[in-house]
């Protein structure tokens, strides 16, 4: 089992989600986050006062998959979240020790 965390452009979320479902990802958790990498932020001007907004809004996806489909899932994200410009985001893959479904108490990949 692996946990995949991806930080992507918010407006591409729908496409990423659809392509993940087609490779067999059953569910996911998303959150609205802010951060910066190589993409520069933007400036906002209120009554002549300029503010630099460095933390750019992104969406973070988290989901757990069986080892077998990790590569397919990563490829699916790259294919649908890439624009080729700074700010496309990152993907991280972590090992997962255990997964438990609260409703039934099932363990392992079946619980995902």
């Amino acid at each position: 089992m692996k946990k995949i965390e991806a930080i992507i452009r918010p407006h591409l979320l729908d496409g990423v989600k659809d392509s993940l479902q087609t490779v067999g990802v059953q569910g996911m958790t998303i959150s609205e986050v802010r951060g910066f990498g190589r993409q520069k932020g933007h400036t906002e001007v209120y009554r002549g006062s300029e503010y630099k907004v460095e933390f750019v809004p992104k969406v973070k996806l988290e989901f757990i998959v069986d080892d077998e489909i990790v590569d397919a899932a990563v490829d699916a994200i790259i294919k649908t979240a890439r624009t080729g410009k700074f700010g496309d985001g990152k993907i991280f893959v972590f090992p997962v020790d255990e997964a438990i479904r609260i409703r039934t108490g099932e363990h392992g990949v079946n619980a995902v």
């Binding site: 906002e44 001007v45 209120y46 009554r47 002549g48 503010y51």
Partner: protein
């Protein structure tokens, strides 16, 4: 022959009419009675019309403070201060009302010296259904009183923009109550009261300043007091390095639009009748606001690259401020000019002037109301015309008509309002600082936000379902904490 016949028939018919009149005597009222009846019906119709208008205007002006100004200011502060900022406008709707009822109206409008009204209307004694012929001959005196109250409410509320996000609620209450008492009430008397120092000839004023709806009394006085507040309270923690962006421009747009609509009551209502002067002031008000939006945005676009929404609504408010003293004295074309000029002047006040002087006037109460009010006062002296409002008995009114002295009078009135506001604010804040142990919240309270530190509330609890809070107190039944949730049936 012919004329004689005509004469005869005329005599005959006259006789006939007299006879008929005598025969009807006792049943039909005399001409005098009928005339008196018609006159009283006429004046009662005028009273109904004027009074209906003035009651609506009073409500409109109250709407400027709440929710208008509360939303406008509330949207411009950070999320953690939205409630406290709205509360500073809202609470004045209550506090100033009570002061007004007890002594405020009397100090402002009762017979007295040129500087203060007397105590004749203390506790609103004698302010009832009969008109006060000096102020408004066709509406109940009480209608005039309640209309004027709404001005007294919004004026200190405007100042709150200068010390937003850092003043103790208790200190703000004390400051605004004392300020209304020693600045607003006397100033209203000087400009609008019987025998007031700066009033128009009709009221027996000595230095005739033109202030139709409160450019001097409301905007200059509050705007310059705001500057002193901003300087004396000091900058907000982190200003200007940390971002202090408006948390909801949407609220501010709604607030500004409500201010615009309410301003029709403010200016057109200042005609204290529903006649053509009210219409003229209504038109001037609208035109002034519109031209100022364009003026502000034009300069902003050219100099800063983008026309902002905040610029647009700030321009509208600036234009409304600028046209306020002029609204009952100028033509529609002059109103466009006044609005356009004021919009541009205020843009430079809140961008360049503020940056150079380095004070933290959180919501630009000085830049918009002080500078805009002063610009409007001077421009009123330029553009006022007897064609719209013949206040000097046929003599020229404004500079363009040939009255060179009017600008001087406008300056004198402005300087008096500026001096009263600034000196009084300095003294009040000094004294309150000593008595209340400072007028500013602690650094910790400021960082936490005034909503929580001053009122124990938050403006937005949108994610309460995440169980981020739990209820405490005697009403709480804590068995829910220890028992398992009911199974969900599918």
């Amino acid at each position: 022959m012919k004329p004689k016949v005509a004469f005869r028939s005329a005599t005959f018919s006259l006789f006939f009419m007299l006879a008929a009149g005598v025969a009807a005597f006792g049943q039909t009222p005399t001409i005098e009675e009928r005339l008196a009846k018609a006159e009283s019906a006429l004046s009662s119709a005028q009273t109904s019309g004027d009074n209906a208008w003035m009651l609506v205007c009073s409500a409109l002006v109250l709407m400027m403070t709440g929710p208008g100004l509360a939303l406008f200011y509330g949207g411009l502060v950070r999320k953690k201060n939205v409630l406290s900022t709205m509360m500073q406008s809202f609470i004045l709707m209550a506090v100033v009302t009570v002061l007004w009822a007890v002594y405020g109206y009397s100090i402002s409008f009762a017979q007295g010296t040129p500087y203060f009204g007397g105590l004749g209307y203390l506790f609103l004694k004698g302010v009832g259904g009969d008109p006060n012929a000096t102020y408004a001959a066709t509406i109940p005196h009480q209608s005039f009183m309640i209309f004027q109250l709404m001005f007294a409410i919004i004026t200190p509320a405007l100042i709150t923009g200068a010390f937003a996000e850092r003043m103790k609620f208790s200190a703000m209450l004390a400051y605004t109550a004392i300020w209304a008492t020693i600045v607003y009430f006397p100033l209203a008397h000087m400009v609008w009261g019987t025998n007031g120092l700066l009033a128009l000839p009709a009221l027996g004023g000595k230095i005739n300043a033109l202030d139709f709806a409160g450019g001097t009394v409301v905007h200059i006085s509050s705007g310059f007091s705001a500057l002193v507040c901003a300087i004396m309270l000091g900058k907000r923690v982190g200003y200007p390095r940390s971002p202090m962006t408006p948390h909801s421009m949407v609220l501010s747009v709604i607030g500004a639009c409500l201010l615009w609509v309410g301003w029709f009551g403010f200016n057109a209502g200042s005609a204290v009748a529903a006649g053509k002067l009210a219409t003229s002031a209504f038109v001037a008000t609208h035109f002034g606001a519109a031209a100022a939006v364009i003026g502000w945005l034009l300069v902003e676009w050219l100099r800063l690259g983008k026309p902002t929404v905040l610029g647009g609504i700030s321009g509208a408010v600036a234009g409304l401020v600028g046209i306020t003293p002029a609204s009952g004295f100028v033509t529609p074309m002059s109103a466009l000019a006044i609005g356009f000029i004021t919009g541009i002047v205020c843009f430079f006040a809140v961008t360049e002037l503020k940056k150079r002087l380095g004070y933290d006037d959180s919501l630009d109460a000085f830049g918009v109301h002080g500078v805009g009010g002063f610009t409007g006062a001077i421009l009123t002296g330029v553009f006022a015309t007897k064609e719209i409002n013949d206040v000097f008995g046929g003599n020229p009114v404004g500079l363009l008509e040939g009255n060179k002295m009017q600008i001087v009078n406008q300056l004198i009135a402005s300087v008096i309002a500026i001096a009263m506001g600034m000196i009084a604010t300095f003294v009040i804040l000094k004294v309150l600082g000593l008595v209340m142990g400072g007028v500013r919240v602690t650094g910790e309270d400021e960082v936490q936000g005034l909503d929580l530190s001053q009122h124990g509330e938050e403006g937005y609890n949108l994610d309460l379902d995440l169980a981020s809070s739990s209820r405490t107190g005697t009403f709480f039944d804590d068995t829910a904490l220890t028992t398992a949730p009911e199974p969900i049936s599918e």
